[in-house]
């Protein structure tokens, strides 16, 4: 079974530039998550989708971050404009249902903002 795919793996940009990350979840997984993991910290949930609807985006900085999940499958997370403090690994995860509890993570996209 293919895992969660993310791209790009690494991205370096200057502050105030924009960046987009892409995620393809495991086939059939209805729930998709984006987490932000800053160096030395645990992952922090940014947004959770159930199919193509947003379940929770309470911790998403909406003035600069946006995310969408097209047709309930792939998802894109965008940052515009980026700040230095956005340097982190952006993790995408998916799960079969909301209540199973087991998340399957991708390898992450490491963002460095200079």
């Amino acid at each position: 079974e293919a895992g969660v795919a993310q791209s790009p793996r690494y991205k370096i940009i200057e502050k105030r530039q924009s960046v987009a990350f892409w995620c393809n979840p495991i086939s059939g997984h209805a729930t998709l998550y984006w987490y932000q993991q800053i160096l030395g910290q645990g992952p922090k949930l940014l947004i959770q989708f159930q199919n193509n609807g947003v379940v929770d985006d309470s911790q998403l900085p909406k003035d600069r971050f946006s995310a969408e999940r097209l047709k309930g499958v792939d998802s894109t997370l965008k940052i515009q404009p980026a700040k230095l403090e956005d340097s982190a690994v952006y993790l995408c995860a998916s799960s079969l249902e909301r209540t199973t509890g087991e998340l399957f993570f991708g390898e992450g996209s490491r963002l460095t903002v200079l």
Partner: protein, 113 residues
């Protein structure tokens, strides 16, 4: 709001030593509890989980964890570690109503050969 606290940021031990990582959580309702592991260069993966029933749960690679409801704790243990257990370990809590997970800050474990 949920919160998770992991007691140690770094642990260094020798092969065959016993390992115990502490995890405490704060949440007012029924919880599901997890330990995830991230080996060097790999993605996060599930080590074990507790939903209900026997509070002592066993996971992969000889790990186990005990849920103590009165202490809001879910500590991870392994009687005898191997060099391959070098990794970062994350405790996570989810509400029983849905699987939004809140993660602790992680504990980096280094096992010396």
């Amino acid at each position: 709001a949920q919160s998770v606290s992991q007691h140690n940021h770094h642990v260094i031990l020798s092969e065959a030593a016993s390992l115990e990582l502490g995890c405490n959580y704060s949440y007012g309702g029924t919880v599901n509890l997890f330990w995830y592991v991230q080996y060097p260069g790999q993605h996060l993966q599930l080590l074990l989980k507790y939903f209900s029933g026997d509070p002592l749960v066993k996971g992969i690679k000889g790990f186990e964890a005990e849920f103590i409801k009165s202490k809001f704790s879910f500590n991870l243990r392994k009687p005898s570690v191997q060099w391959s257990d070098t990794a970062e370990y994350f405790c996570a809590v989810g509400s029983a109503a849905g699987n939004k997970l809140t993660f602790g800050g992680g504990t980096r474990v280094l096992v010396k050969p």
